[in-house]
């Protein structure tokens, strides 16, 4: 949880660093500062939303009206292994190669 009042739109440097960490986007201190100013400015524009009365209003997740589509449980031919691996930056044999997840 980020510690600040939602009504106070000016983000702190620390908050922006935390968001970048959550989003896994590397940023230099200079980029963090630019982002802090721009995000604060944009979030400030959203303040008016809090004034809209949404008491008893349902949410809209998407507008097509289609819900819970399932296909028949029948196997289909998907990508071949070589196709699936064709864009992987690092492979080894029939596998995608990744860096160690645990130290």
């Amino acid at each position: 949880m980020l510690n600040s009042d939602p009504n106070l739109m000016d983000l702190s440097t620390h908050e922006v660093e935390q968001i970048a960490e959550l989003a896994k986007v590397g940023m230099t201190p200079e980029e963090i500062e630019v982002m802090r100013g721009q995000m604060s400015d944009i979030l400030d524009r959203f303040k008016a939303l809090s004034e809209v009365d949404t008491e008893g209003v349902e949410t809209t997740a998407h507008p097509s009206g289609v819900v819970s589509v399932l296909r028949d449980d029948v196997p289909e031919q998907g990508l071949t292994r070589s196709e699936a691996l064709s864009n992987a930056p690092r492979t080894q044999g029939e596998f995608v190669r990744v860096r160690a997840v645990l130290d």
């Binding site: 590397g26 997740a61 097509s64 289609v66 995608v96």
Partner: protein, 489 residues
């Protein structure tokens, strides 16, 4: 109804004009494709509408199309050169999203729209430049190069589908496909003087479209006239089991809806779409367009959509939230750019630092913030509720009106660099187009003439699956207004 082709070069034809010439034996797909390729060679150094040009492959497809035509097996799009925005997967052809992240990505499969159009015999001449991951309104966010407006090459073509809009305007393809999340088809169509259609959400499959904001994204055509838009939509529309949001229902023949008759059609004009401070000339061009529709027998009525003012905030919470989730897949492991670092987490952050440009990072950051614990209710949940209110407001309007008419964009094409320093001023370009995505309804931008040599677009919006009425009115307007939108390129 179709004009002869003698008065313009083959690359300048509409689809239906080219169809008549191909079927009548006056030209071949190979001649038509060669004409388009020569046009690309001539203007592309200036316009830069393409990330990839697929010349040799296109000529092979043109030969096969000519065989089909000779065998009497041609459909409406057989042999017609097209471009696709570079966020639609094309098997064995790079699909970059104009991003360093996907610069070397070569999909092993076709998007449904790419497969449909190519199996219909259309000829793919290349992939269109765009704002990176479709985030932007000027195509200046392309990681590779900006695209220029064929009407004034010091100005932007709009965005995010600036490449497709410019290509169709400049004669580098007879039609193109774009994607529209908040206006990315209609706004560049307006700025480049072509027709841009965003269909009802779910009418056209999104399978193979690189995801930006999944509840808002929709694919649609850029064409030189409304009849062409109807022809292309008839090929694109229809249920796709590979897209879970795809609508399962009958697909009408949209071209047969173009009767030219709009008598008695009730068209609402919401006053919130004509704010003070709009670009000079835009309002008068759009009002003149409404007079044309009135002259044809449509009933034009002023109305109000008071929650329109909240669309910008709703959009800029929902779209970045969905983007931050969709773009989490770019981890440098399965495909795409991969940054170097000793640790797994370090490499992930480096991949995304080096692979994404500033606007994409800004959206990911905004979305991550809006979805984070403690802010979710105040931002994302609130935006989803106001989304319902905006949808209901449209539903109520469409109980009184057949269509709504507005300007497509508050301004004509602006100069390169004019809005890049201020993200919010760039976001405001889409203020009139975002509401249709929020509500999931269809909307079209049709050329409404020029102001000081720069195109203006008239936007029409229709209720859910109201494409036939939408196209009918746009077509009737286009024929009556008879604007010449050719660039002096």
């Amino acid at each position: 109804m179709s004009k002869t082709i003698t008065d313009k070069p083959a690359w300048g034809l509409t689809i239906h004009e080219a169809r008549a010439a191909l079927d009548g034996g006056q030209t071949t797909s190979q001649e038509l494709t060669a004409s388009v390729m020569a046009r690309i060679e001539a203007v592309e150094p200036t316009i830069k509408a393409f990330v990839t040009v697929t010349g040799d492959r296109a000529m092979q497809q043109a030969r096969r199309a000519d065989d089909r035509i000779a065998a009497g097996e041609a459909g409406p799009l057989t042999g017609i050169p097209l471009q696709l925005k570079d966020n639609m997967s094309t098997q064995d052809i790079a699909t970059t999203c104009s991003s360093r992240m996907l610069e070397n990505f070569v999909p092993p499969y076709d998007a449904t729209v790419a497969a449909k159009l190519q199996s219909a015999g259309a000829v793919l001449v290349g992939k269109g430049n765009m704002d990176e991951f479709a985030m932007g309104s000027s195509t200046e966010n392309s990681a590779f190069f900006p695209t220029r407006n064929p009407h004034d090459t010091n100005r932007v073509p709009g965005g995010s589908s600036g490449g497709p809009a410019a290509a169709v305007s400049a004669g580098e393809a007879l039609f193109s496909l774009g994607s529209d999340t908040g206006g990315s088809i209609r706004q560049p169509a307006s700025l480049c003087g072509v027709v841009g259609l965003k269909p009802t959400y779910g009418l056209v499959s999104r399978y193979g479209l690189v995801a930006f904001a999944s509840s808002l994204d929709q694919i649609g055509p850029f064409t030189r006239d409304v009849e062409d838009a109807a022809l292309v939509l008839s090929e694109l529309a229809g249920h796709d089991p590979r897209d879970a949001t795809s609508i399962n229902g009958p697909v009408p023949d949209y071209a047969s809806a173009l009767t030219g008759d709009v008598r008695g059609l009730k068209i609402g004009v919401p006053k919130e779409y004509f704010p003070e401070g709009m670009g000079p000339g835009v309002e008068s061009a759009v009002r003149a367009g409404l007079d044309v529709l009135a002259g044809l027998g449509a009933e034009i009525v002023e109305t109000s959509l008071p929650h329109t003012m909240h669309a910008l905030a709703v959009y800029y919470i929902i779209a970045p939230s969905e983007a931050s989730s969709n773009l989490a897949r770019y981890d440098g492991v399965k495909y795409g750019y991969s940054g170097e670092d000793e640790t797994m987490w370090g490499a992930l952050a480096r991949t995304r630092q080096e692979g994404f440009g500033p606007e994409v990072k800004r959206r990911i950051m905004l979305g991550t913030y809006a979805l984070s614990a403690g802010y979710y209710d105040a931002y994302y949940l609130k935006a989803q509720k106001v989304r319902t209110i905006i949808r209901n407001e449209f539903a109520e309007a469409f109980s009184k009106f057949d269509l709504l008419a507005t300007p497509t964009s508050p301004s004509v094409a602006f100069e390169l660099g004019a809005k890049t320093a201020d993200p919010v001023s760039m976001y405001l370009n889409d203020i009139f187009t975002m509401p249709a995505n929020i509500a999931g309804i269809p909307a079209i931008s049709v050329p409404a003439g020029k102001v000081d040599g720069l195109p203006v677009g008239l936007q029409l919006m229709a209720p859910h699956l109201g494409e036939e009425t939408l196209l009918r009115a746009a077509h009737a307007y286009e024929r009556a207004a008879d604007h010449n939108m050719d660039p002096s390129l």
